[in-house]
Each structure stands twice: as structure tokens, then as C-alpha cells.
Amino acid sequence: MSDQLLLSRFAFGPTPNTYNSVMQGGGKKWLEEQLEPRLQDDSKCQERHADFKLRIRYEESADWKSADEMRSFQYLDTPISDLIQLNQPGKKLPGPEKNRPLMEVVSATLIRAVYSKWQTHEVMCDFWHNHFNVNAWDPNIGLGLPVYDREVIRKHALGNFRELVEGVAKSYCMQTYLNNRSSKAGAPNENYARELFELHTLGKKAYLNNLYNKWRDVPGARQGSPEGFIDQDVYEAARAFTGWTIEDGANIGGKATLPRTGRFTYVESWHDNYQKRILAQEIDPYQAALSDGNKVLNFAAFHHATAKHLCEKLCIRFISDKPPRSIVESSTKVWKANQNKSDQIACVLRHIAESKEFQNSAGEKVKKPLELTASYLRGTGIEFNPTEGLIHELSAAGQKLYGWPAPNGHPEKSAYWLSSNTMRRRWSLVYGLTMNTWKTGSFDPFLRRGSQLMTTKGFTDSWIEELMHRQNSVLEGAILNNAGIPADTPIKNLDLARKLVAWIGMSPEYQVS
């Protein structure tokens, strides 16, 4: 097992502590612990959360007074029935109050990425949030983000995919984002059903669109196991999900209205009860409540194309943009063999981590801005607290956390992260964290490594070792060449010292894992 690579991909980079324990032969042990996290046992991160305060600020208006204060987390554990009150019809709230649930989850995510003990769990939460993307910067969706994060994504991040898909399907956030909550028999809304097949489960490679309405021609369909889906499957699945909705106060006929709790519910009078044919499976008319939709989730979650799509995506995340076919195929077998187990996802991750394809993949992945930020903070040991300024800088660097507008989530492949804007902004990220531009925490480079009595060369070598875990004479040469002071003189200037450390974080080699 490549232990150092493990900490770069199955964690947000090494800290000195995790590095030492893993390099002393503990990679396998570390991974096993990570795959069975005891999430309550995370005191350092919990203390950070308890002490954390995020600024909130807005101007006075006719409907509210101005505010400018530091406020603790208040929504991370709040039930959806309370959160939905933030969007009560007729209730006027300043934007920052409406966006507060979102900003709290973004801040909590950043703190966990840097400080949580359960790093693989955090990496997978990031993966699933992108896989099941919702645009939570829309306040009407964002108000549900604490619940989506807590009760769907975090709950199932290393668990069972079928359960995860159902949690997503019934969530306030996805029901709102892909509009299933307004879908009704007669002319259903196809938005959710389409993305369920294309993005969440079978994948776009299994969308055999040129067969459109010729379902019998889909390979395997006549035997009851079609290789992919067509638009007729989308239409029929949309019918199956009619009536799956959210208690949002909507009128459901006559004078009857749904309560406003934000919780999932089923409205029988909106459901299309007639027979359906989905992925070459027949569904009889007038089934029990929720039965049609649950069947679609079964067909989709246990489909071979889904196993392949998800395993390929995991291999792209953990190995390379073009993972060897061998590892995608073997992972697919593990995925299917464990598809009814409660630790299905963990089993697949173990398989990938222990593969030779993974071990041979050093340097293949470009760090996304969140990964770059967290790994740099973990490596340097800066005492970190997220701020609004940093959150906006991450957005500018291309990673608007929980705010990708389309349902496909942030790109997993490298090209997107190497454009002139995303490159320039990742330099700004590293430099700004080093110089405390966004008040995220002051950095004293002499605290952990060396002292002001050290030569510039000694200081540089020491920090290269600290961040890259090996010596690198080319990097050392480029730094000393531009430092502006002789290599053998003591480095006393704090800002210069910080700058030299920032350069390591800005170097091309540090951008990849």
C-alpha cells in the first residue's frame, strides 16, 4: 500500500501526526479505522465547531434592523420543520439570514476537512455532495442543506448506495431542486426522473438515446435486463414518482392543503396509478403507496450500469482521470457483491486503496481548491477558522461549495482546474491563507520549523520536507533564486519567510497528489 498517497487521496492531505503514524507501517490500520469511523469520537473537531463564530452582517431596511456580529453555529442540528420557517410566505428576512444555513454548512465542512479525524468520511461527503448535487446558494434549497448534509450525505457516505439514493430521493433539497415535489399525474415533471437515471445511477453512457422509443431494441431488454435507458424510461419513471412530495403547504385539491413541515410525504391524489414499464420491467396498476417509486429506485440502484458508472467515477476521483479498465471492472464486482451490505461503499473504497492501480497513480490528480486549501492548512499547521472572505475566494477559484448550478456537480477531471482563471485563483488561495488575507488564521513559519537563526537555504529545505515529505533540489533552487537574499544568510523577515512557504504551496508539484 502506498501510504503517503493514501493520505493525499483518502484524506485532505497529511498532518505531521498522521504522516508519522502512517509511515511507521500503519497505512492499512489507518485505512481500516477510517472506513469504520466512530464519528462521535472527534473531540478536536467538535471543540473547533463549538468555539467557531462566523460573521453576519446586513444593512437596516424597512423590515429589519441592521446587524454586524459574530455568531455561533445555530442550524447544524436543526430539524427541517424549523428550517422551513426561514422561507415562510410573506415573511421578510435579510439575505444573510436566509443564507445562514448554507454558510454554516460550508463553514462546518471546511473545519472538518482540516480537523476531523475521520478524513476518508469527509472526502466521501465531498464526493457524494457533488454526485447528488443541489444548488444550495438558492436560499429556498439552502435552508434544507443542514438536514441534507446530516441525515442523507453524512449518514450514508460510507454505507449502502441503495439507502443513499432513497435518502436523496426523499430529501427536501433534491425534491425542491429537481422539482419532483410539484410533479403530478397527467403531465408529470420529468426533471428528477431524468437526472436519477443519467447522473445519480445508470449514467450518461447508459443513455441509449438514439433508440428513443424502441425499448425492445435496447440490448438485453427482451430478457428483462436492458443495458441502458431511453426516454420512455424517463417518462415512465416520472409517472412512478408522481405524488412523492414535500409538506410545503401546497394545495392538494378542494380546501385541503399540506402542512408546512418540510418533511417528505406522499399525496395519493397526485399519483399516476396506471401500469408502467420501466427498464423492461412491468409494474401493475394500483400498487401500494410509494411502491412504484421504490421499485424504480431498486431497478436503478441495483442495475449493472449503475455499478459501473459509480465505480468508474470513484476510480476517477481516487486514481486518475482515465483509470485503467482493470480497476473499474474489479471495483464493479466488489460493488455488486456487497450491494445489500450496510458497508458497501467502504468495501469498494478498500478495494481501490489496496489496488496496484492506485499505488501506481502518484501525481495523477489535480487538487481541487478545497483539497488544495485543506491540504495546505493541514501541512502548515495554521490555526484555521473559515471566513466569508475565504468562502468567496474558493468560489472564485471555481469551487463554489454546494453552489454548482447544474445537477452534475463540480467537474472531477483535471482540465477544468488548470485554466488561466482556476490556476491564478489557486495561487491566490495559497498566498492569502499564508498571509492571513481573509482573517482565517495567522501563520508563524518559525513556530513549527526552524528559527530566525536558520539560513534561508536551511529554512527552505526544512519547509519543503515538511510539506512535500522529501527533498527537492529543483524547487529549492527556484525558491532561493528568487528570494532576494543570499542562501546562507539567516532569514529574519517574517513576511519573506511566509512568502517562501507560500511558494512551495503554489508550485506545480504541490497542485497534484
Binding site: 397527467g186 438514439n210 488561466s420 511558494w503 508539484e509
Partner: protein, 414 residues
């Protein structure tokens, strides 16, 4: 040479051999680009409902398929009515919120293409967008194509910044060129943090150009250096960060205005810009379309009118294609929205455009005329539009659309 370049192109195009004629490339490269119009591509992301943008308001099938709030009504003032339309009986009208678009149309600066799109049957946003961005005609070629139609067209062109993507990262259509600036706007600081010594360090450490991150580092340094050389500066010496002081009327066009005015600003710099792209999101109206679509169209209409003023005041010639990945279903759903469809409505705006008329072939909305019985059919291959647009910009389309062997000209441009 007695034959003009344009005549030669026309002749070879009508002979249907342009993509195979090696002489065209040398001919077009021989002529300077500086006086060529800038080509701009605005992508309406999500599948804009063409049947609400430029609507067959008098068509009985249209009226039957949609409630009055989800269609353009065949009534009211006549300003929105399109002259020179594809079918006079259909009663084509601009959306009532597109007041500036109908003015531009009447002023012959804007042309409308209807029933345009991809030939592939996909109703997936992501597949359809990528097919267009890569300039291909079917999904099967996606995984084998790494570059975009614009990237291929400008690769090899002279200039430090030949393409501009007014987005967070480079648009896929520009993949294949390493002289593309990506930046959501041109109104913020463009420096490398840490100043000259940091630039020196990054240049030194990347000088071997071995890895993809080293190449990206060097490209980015070069582009930033160009911007900082050419950036329009205020009297104080600081980079100008104003959009337009309100003079062109971008207010009300939202984020779109920011991108458009950034393109206008960059077009005045001497960086060799040939093409620019930007996005306008929010067109995926599965729910609550009546309200959402009106707002989208208002932004679009205001933004394009302001941009046209902006470019004219700079005396910079341009042509802009306004595209979307597909149109939407004729029949609305019970969420007050429409689902993914097929044939779309595109716009072309600018100096070379033979505006004030509609282009394409209107298939109608009778059941048997619809694609698979549900959606507006595609009667114009989207690549024909892009192909002509490259030619009028002095760019060689041969590598952009390798599978497009011959086609009639739409004659969108003068």
C-alpha cells in the same frame, strides 16, 4: 489576385468542398485578422424554450398545447411581430419581455434561427451541450474528442490572448488552444499574488514545461503579463474597474451584463482576441416557467442591447451567436413548466448579420411534424450556423467540423 477572398470562399462553399480545400487555409491566413469581426458565443444553459422566445403565436397546435401563461399570445401591440418570418400563418412574435430584441430585429442587426439544433436524439443537457461545444454530430464521438470547435479554429492563430472565456474556467468549446484567458470578469485585479518575485519563482519552477501543471502555470503567467500590459487604465494608473458608468444600459441584465461588458472591454485591448464565449444560466424551466422565463428574457434582451451599444461606441465589429442545447417540450407539464425538448431557437446579432429576417425551415407543430411526436423538430444542423460564423470571422472552419462535408449556406452574413 482578381478574385476577392470572399468570392472565392463563396464559390468553393457552394461547390461543397470547403473542408477539403487546402488552399483556403493559406488564403485566410494570408489576410490580416485585425479588421475581422470578433466572434462571440453566448450559451443559454439549460435549454431555453424557443417556443416562448420567438413564438408561433397564431399556430393552433401551439395554442392547444399550452395554457395562456406559458405561451406568447397572438394579441397586443404589433412591435413584437417578426417580419420576413419563416411562415406568415404562424404569427411569429418575440416574447413580450424581449423589447430590445425586437428593436434590434427591426433595425436589421439581429436574425432569428428556428428549429435549429443537434441531429443526435439526446435530451440530456450535458450530452447535448458537449456535442455542441465539441462541434460534433453524435454522442458516440464525445469520448474521442478532447478539443472544442472554437479551440480548433483559433489554434495556431497569432496573438497572446486569442480566446476569452468569461466564465470561472475555460469553456469546453475553447479546449485545444493554450492562449485562452478564463476570467469571469475583467474588472478585478489580475496580478499574480506576491508580485514580481513570485512571478519569477513560478516561471523558474515551470520552465521545463514537463507536467500539465507546469504548462498551465506558464500559460497563466503569459496571459496575466499580457493583460497587465494592455489593461485599460484610469488616470490614477489603476486598472479600470467600471463596467460602463451606466451609459450603455447594462443595468437589469444581471451577471450576464458583467460578462458581456468584460468581453467589450477586452476587445479594445491589443491582445489579438478573435473569439469570446460566455454563459447565461437559468433556462431549465421545468417548474414555474411563466415567471422565470420572463426574467431570463428581460436580462437577455437588456444585456444584448447594451452590449451592441458598447461595441459600437468602441467601433469594434463583432458577431454574436446566441445558442442553447435544445428547445423544450411543446406540451407543458403540471408544474407550470416544460420538460426537455429538441429543436431550438438561436439568435445571431452583429455587424455582418443580414438581420431582420428568420432563417431555417419551419416544420410546424402538427403531430406528424414533431420529433417523435412530442418536440419541435430540428431542420437546421447547428454546425451550419457555426461554420458560416467562423468564415465571416476570418477563421478556418475545416478543423472545427470535420464531419460536415457539404451543406447549403444559410447566408446569415453579408
Amino acid at each position: 489576385m482578381t478574385i476577392s477572398r470572399r468570392d472565392f470562399l463563396k464559390a468553393s462553399l457552394s461547390a461543397g468542398c470547403f473542408s477539403l480545400c487546402p488552399s483556403i487555409a493559406s488564403l485566410s491566413y494570408a489576410e490580416g485578422y485585425d479588421n475581422k469581426p470578433l466572434l462571440i458565443v453566448l450559451f443559454l444553459r439549460g435549454g431555453a424554450d424557443g417556443l416562448s422566445l420567438v413564438a408561433p403565436s397564431a399556430d393552433s397546435d401551439y395554442i392547444a398545447a399550452r395554457s395562456s401563461e406559458l405561451r406568447v399570445l397572438d394579441e397586443g401591440d404589433s412591435n413584437g411581430i417578426l417580419s420576413n418570418s419563416l411562415d406568415s400563418r404562424a404569427g411569429f412574435r418575440f416574447n413580450p419581455n424581449a423589447t430590445s430584441l425586437s428593436e434590434l430585429y427591426r433595425g436589421k442587426r439581429l436574425a432569428v434561427l428556428h428549429a435549429v439544433g443537434i441531429l443526435d436524439a439526446t435530451r440530456s443537457h450535458f450530452v447535448a451541450q458537449e456535442i455542441i461545444e465539441k462541434g460534433i454530430n453524435e454522442e458516440g464521438l464525445l469520448s474521442r474528442t478532447d478539443t472544442g470547435w472554437l479551440g480548433r479554429a483559433i489554434s495556431g492563430s497569432q496573438g497572446a490572448i486569442t480566446g476569452y472565456s468569461a466564465t470561472a474556467s475555460t469553456d469546453i468549446s475553447l479546449y485545444g488552444s493554450n492562449t485562452v484567458l478564463a476570467a469571469p470578469d475583467m474588472f478585478s485585479n489580475f496580478d499574480v499574488p506576491g508580485g514580481q518575485s513570485t512571478r519569477g519563482f513560478l516561471g523558474d519552477i515551470s520552465k521545463n514545461s514537463k507536467s500539465s501543471t507546469e504548462v498551465a502555470t506558464l500559460n497563466t503567467l503569459n496571459i496575466i503579463a499580457t493583460i497587465n500590459r494592455d489593461q485599460v487604465r484610469e488616470a490614477s494608473g489603476r486598472a479600470s474597474n467600471k463596467t460602463d458608468n451606466g451609459q450603455f444600459g447594462y443595468d437589469g441584465s444581471g451577471e450576464l451584463g458583467r460578462g458581456l461588458s468584460s468581453i467589450a472591454k477586452l476587445s479594445s485591448m491589443d491582445a489579438g482576441l478573435k473569439v469570446a464565449v460566455l454563459d447565461h444560466g437559468g433556462w431549465d424551466t421545468h417548474e414555474g416557467q411563466a415567471y422565470r422565463f420572463s426574467n431570463q428574457v428581460k436580462q437577455l434582451s437588456i444585456g444584448l442591447a447594451a452590449f451592441d451599444q458598447d461595441m459600437r461606441s468602441r467601433n469594434r465589429k463583432y458577431n454574436m451567436i446566441v445558442m442553447t442545447e435544445f428547445g423544450r417540450r411543446l406540451q407543458s407539464n403540471k408544474s407550470g413548466g416544460t420538460d426537455h425538448g429538441h429543436g431550438a431557437c438561436w439568435l445571431v446579432l452583429g455587424d455582418s448579420v443580414r438581420g431582420g429576417q428568420m432563417y431555417g425551415k419551419w416544420p410546424g407543430l402538427k403531430n406528424e411534424a414533431l420529433d417523435h411526436g412530442v418536440d419541435l423538430a430540428v431542420t437546421t444542423d447547428y454546425r451550419m450556423v457555426l461554420n458560416e460564423s467562423l468564415l465571416v470571422s476570418g477563421l478556418n472552419p475545416a478543423s472545427s467540423f470535420p464531419e460536415l462535408r457539404k451543406s447549403e449556406l444559410l447566408r446569415l452574413y453579408a
